[in-house]
Each structure stands twice: as C-alpha cells, then as structure tokens.
Amino acid sequence: MSSLRFSRVPAIDTALKLVTVAVTMFSFVFVVMVPLYNVLCDALGINGKTSSQAYTVVPAAVDESREVTVQFVAINNDGMPWSLTPDTRMMRVNPGAANGVVFHAVNPTDADMVAQAIPSISPSRAAAYFHKTECFCFDQQMLEGQSSAEMPLQFIVDKDLPADIHTITLSYTIFDVTGTVTDGLASR
C-alpha cells in the first residue's frame, strides 16, 4: 500500500525474533523466577522461612556455655476456626541440643477439616540456623469435627547461630486448606 521500496521480509523476520523474546520472557517468570525465588529463600533462609524438609541430625557437641530463648507463637489465618496452642510459650535452649515442644490443636467445628501450618522465624536471618527434625508443619493435618490432637515439634538450634541473636521467635500461621487441591507445593 504505502510503498514497495522496502521488502517486508526482513521486518517480519525481526518481528518474529521479538515475539520469541516476548514468549521467552513470559515463560521466564514461571520457569525461572518462581523456582529461583523458592530455591533462594530455602537456601539462604531469607523470608524467615524454615526448611520444609526434616533436618538430618549431624552429631555435634552441645554448646553448654550459651543459652538462647525460643518463643512460640501460633495465629490463625482469617476465618480459621481451629485453636493451636503450644504447651509452653518460651524455653531456654542450648545450641546443638535437641528440644521438643507440643502444640495442642482443636477443631471446634462439626466438620472434618484439613489445616496447613506455615512457619516464620524472627529475626529472619536466624531461619537458616533453626533446624526441625520433626514438625507437624511438614504435612497437612486433618482433624475430624469436635476433636483435638497433640502436634509435636522437635528442633535443634545450630551452634553457628550468630552471637548477637539471643531470642528466636517461631510463629505458625494455620490456614484452612480443606477442599483445596493438595500438590507438592503444599508440604512446606
């Protein structure tokens, strides 16, 4: 229409290459950014997330010379009717030693429900030094209506915990995941 002094072929060639770039960038979000973010958060413990895998105990001496305060908090995501309470709010632990705490969960409704607890550590840089050998948060927890359960947590505070950290707060938020599709992601 406008002019024939230019062939459209090179322009279409350029355009197709650019479409490839656009499609690549769209896929980049899904196949690179999301997994990379999760890997980095896991590896560096940033975001205050503890590892979603049980910690394999490396035998090591207990550091008797140092005590760290560990606090436990459990809160409900909005609309979640369960109650989740730790049997102790706070304990003094030696780095390197194995410790345990039990959370008491109650489903006050008449319906069977599935819950997922999501941990968060404060200060977040302590997350990489907080090892769980056993945790109810690794899996979804099912409770029948009007029932309760004891949910154990076993953990070790790493001996390499930075010296300026004296208190670690472990907070669980419990989410109602009844009826949502369970996939691999949900086992955090």
Binding site: S3, A15, M25
Partner: protein, 526 residues
C-alpha cells in the same frame, strides 16, 4: 511509486481500517488524551475527598477504587499510549521511512486498546466495585481479598500488554529495517534512539507483567498457590515479580520523554544537542540498570542487609547517566540563542521539576531513610514529579512542537504560554506540599488523615483543581488550532528545528518519503 498518491478513505472506515502511521498516531494521541481526562477526573475525586480531614464525599472503598483506577488509567491509558502515538507519527518521518514496518499489526495494536480500557472502566459498575488494591495490585489484596471484578482487570492488563508488545515490535522492526539510506544508527534523532531502547524494555518486561497477572488468575480461579502462603507460595514473590516489571516500566515512561526533550531543547537553543553520543549511551545504561534495581520499591519487606545494600547502591548508580542527560540539556542551552515558545517552556519546566523528582528519588533510594518515607505522601510527591512534570510535561511540549507540522496550523501562543504557567504553578501547589506531609508521616492511599495535615492537603487539592482545569485550556487550544488555527506553510515551522520530519511539506501529507530522502548532516555533529 512516487507518483501514485492517494488520500485517506472517507468516513469511519478510514479510522477502523487504516494502516497509515499518521492516522494511527493521531488515534493513539486522542485516545491517550481521553484517558488523561478520565484519569484526571479520578484524581479530582481523590483530591476533593482529601480537601478536608474526615470523610467528606465518597466511601473509603470507592476512594480506593479511585486511587487504583487513577494510577492504572494514567500509566497504561494516558502516558504509554501517548508516547506510542508520538512514535507512530514521528519515527517514520524522522528516519525517512514511508510508514511503519508492519502497518496491519499497527492497526491492531491500537484497536485492541479501547476495548481493554472499556473493560477496565466497566468494573466501576460491577457488584463489589472496581479494583481497589492500588495500581501495584499486591497479592493477597488483589487475589484473596479482591472484588470479583479483578478477573476483568486481569484480562484488561493482558490485552493492553499485548497491545504494547505489538507496538514495540513494530517500532523495533521499523527502526532496524526501514531507515533511509545513510541514516546510520548514530545519525538517528535521539527521540528514535530513546524509543528503540524503550521498545526493547517493553518487549522484555510486559510479558513479566502478563505472567504476574496470569499467576493471580490461576491463584483466584484454578487453585494454585503462587502468592498464597497456605499452599506454599509467598505474597512477597508477587512484589518481586511486579517490580521486576515495574521498575523498567518507569523508564519505559520516561525515556521517550527524554527523547522529546532532546529534540526540542536544541531547536529553541538554536544549537545541536550537546553530547549526542553520551546521550545514547546514557539511555542504554539507564535501560540496563533498570533491570537490577527493582527491590528498592520493597526495602521494608524484610530483605537481608546485603540485598538492601546492593539495591541501594545500584539505584544510586542510575543518578550518573541521568545526571549526564540533565547536564547535556543544560549545556545545549548554554550560550544558545534561546527563545521561550510554549514547547521550550514545557521543556524547561520538565528540566527543573524532573531534576527535583530525581533528587527525591535519590533520597528514597537510601534504604534506611526509605523505612521512614515508605508508603507516605513523600513517595506520591516523588513519582508525580517524575511522571507528571517528567512524562506529561514533555508530552505536552511535544504536542505544541509538532502540532503545526501535523495539521498545518499554528496554535495560539499566548494561550499556550498561559497553559504552561497555570500548569507549572498548579502542579507545584499540588505536589510540593506533599513532600512535607509525607515526611511528617501521612500515609498514601487513605481517604482520611490526621488534623495536622489539613492545611497542606487543602493547598494540594486547590493546586490539583488548578492543574486539572488548565488541561481543558490545552484541549481547547488544540481543537481551536486544528479547526481554525493560523495556517503555516513553512516546512520548518520553527527556525531552529532540525531533522527529516521538517523537510516534508506542512501540513505533513498523508504519505511521506515514498522516495528515500537524502539524509542531511548527522544529528550529533556539533
């Protein structure tokens, strides 16, 4: 083919089916102006509510819808399409090409825009109201807690993303393949350079935005948990993805504005642009840096200190190429034969106010200080200094500068200058006090505020009404020019104007450069 001239088709089909870059450019510009008025109307609602403390006019929920739609409409509906319109009009004329490389796709990239914004605006009338989560639509506000209309918002973003990507591909294909013989890359006008780089940014990051809204869509409707902690996702991930798009986006908005200013300041200084090559390299550096600074928008999410420091220093580094540009513009004016027609006034206004906005940006880049400034009116003041006094002022300058070339008629200079002074004063009355209330702790996006902020907010609102009204003067001036402006026949229109677009007759004929022009002296020679 030179002798085969034919004019546009008649009636509505001219506009629906046109593949002419000038027609499409015109439609983009009018569409952008309509969106500018719509977004401006939303801003007036916001400022009217904030005129006095306490709840005055609108419900808090509706106020949130206004801040959200104001941002979305201004960024995606007004500023971006206006510069695409400018690119359509000018890039072929500046590089000596007969049209854009892919004219039919060009038609499509415009015509899918109005339905997208119709869909976005229609959410106002839906049950639950329009999106009310801010233009940054952070999850879970935009997923778990969003009104059902969020799905329409997501599709609107998809469509306008596709439009932007198609427009950008067209611009790149045009610049790379359609330059007149002799128009080497380093002879291209700076407006073409800045748009070429902007188009690459758009192709790279608009798909990222599309990815973010697609994840939202999947979280809302298909049971995934990208941004939901319950399913193993993370709301902070949303912020990373959004700002990985969002920071390049702010340069997508401002780089074409840099290009416009780099065309206009030399014309009214009657000197070639100072430091052409350094301008090109500075633009490319800014574009590169824009990809590695995104997390400076989210210092308060609890990043490790190393992350905060990296993003802080990388952000500060952007001040270097930006400073190169500002000093080049000032050096261009230095000892020039200056005259102060309306386009030049808007460019000088841009230069002063954009630099101020750059300085507040530098303040915000300091991570420890940002903990104080974060989400306050200081941020609002900062980005309006760079978005309005930056992008909108330069766009206004561009319209005054090239309008006589486009329609062959001269605008009313006195009215243009009046528009500038009212805009300049109104803008500063609106946004300068917001620095103070922000530093004193007034949070953004909230319909009410503590009593001690009352005076400055009243000033802000009065300034906003003045600035808003002055745009109606602009609209009147443009229409009056097109309908009954004093005819101009001089090809150059402005005695200092340089470039191929000033070698075609005035008004620019429907088809230009069907025969390749002889490329005049390089744009960068001093």
């Amino acid at each position: 083919m030179g002798e085969h001239h034919h004019g546009p088709a008649q009636g509505i089909s001219r506009w629906l089916f046109t593949t002419n870059h000038k027609d499409i450019g015109t439609m983009y510009l009018w569409f952008a102006f309509a969106m500018f008025l719509l977004g401006g109307f939303f801003a007036m609602v916001i400022r009217a509510e904030l005129f006095q403390p306490g709840m005055q006019l609108v419900e808090p929920g509706f106020f949130n819808q206004m801040t959200t739609l104001h941002g979305l409409v201004m960024v995606f509906g007004a500023i971006m399409p206006s510069f695409v319109g400018l690119a359509n009009w000018l890039i072929p004329m500046m590089i000596g090409a007969p049209d854009m490389a892919l004219p039919r796709m060009n038609n499509w990239s415009f015509w899918i825009l109005p339905p997208a914004f119709l869909m976005l605006a229609s959410t106002l009338f839906m049950e639950g109201g329009a999106p009310a989560f801010g233009w940054t639509f952070y999850a879970p506000l935009s997923t778990t807690y969003a009104a059902p209309s969020v799905t329409f918002f997501i599709f609107a973003i998809h469509i306008l993303g596709v439009s932007s990507i198609m427009g950008s591909i067209n611009i790149i294909a045009t610049v790379m393949n359609m330059r007149a013989p002799g128009m080497t890359y380093m002879k291209m006008p700076l407006f073409v350079w800045t748009w070429l780089i902007t188009a690459f940014l758009l192709v790279a990051v608009m798909p990222v935005l599309a990815g973010a809204v697609t994840m939202m869509l999947m979280d809302i409707h298909f049971g995934t948990s990208f941004f939901s902690a319950a399913g193993g996702g993370d709301p902070v991930l949303f912020q990373h993805i959004f700002w990985f798009f969002g920071h390049p986006e702010v340069y997508i908005i401002i780089l074409p504005a840099f290009g416009v200013v780099s065309q206009i300041i030399p014309a009214f200084s009657r000197k070639p642009l100072f430091g052409y090559a350094s301008m090109v390299y500075a633009t490319a550096s800014i574009a590169f840096l824009s990809f590695i600074v995104w997390a400076h928008h989210m210092y308060t999410v609890g990043m490790p200190i190393a992350g905060e420091l990296f993003f802080m220093y990388a952000t500060m580094l952007i001040a270097v190429p930006t400073g190169v540009k500002v000093f080049n513009w000032i050096s261009t004016m230095w000892r020039g034969a200056l005259s102060f027609e309306t386009p030049m006034l808007f460019c000088i206004g841009f230069l002063i106010l954009f630099t101020l906005g750059g300085f507040t940006g530098l303040m915000l880049s300091i991570a420890p200080a940002d903990f104080q400034y974060h989400d306050t009116y200081f941020v609002v003041a900062h980005f309006h200094y760079v978005m309005v006094a930056g992008a909108v002022f330069s766009m206004t300058a561009a319209v005054y500068y090239w309008l006589p070339k486009w329609c062959g008629r001269m605008y009313n200079e006195a009215m243009g200058k009046t528009h500038f002074w009212i805009s300049f004063i109104g803008f500063n009355i609106t946004f300068f006090p917001q620095h103070f209330v922000g530093l004193a702790g007034m949070p953004r996006r909230i319909p009410d505020y503590a009593l001690q902020f009352a005076d400055f907010n009243m000033m802000s609102s009065i300034g906003a009404f003045i600035y808003g009204a002055s745009q109606l003067l602009f609209l009147y001036n443009v229409i009056a020019t097109i309908v009954a402006g004093k005819p101009v026949s001089d090809e150059k229109v402005w005695d200092g104007a340089e470039g191929l677009e000033w070698t075609v007759p005035t008004p620019a004929p429907y088809h230009t450069f069907e025969e390749p022009p002889a490329v005049p002296k390089p744009a960068g020679t001093i």
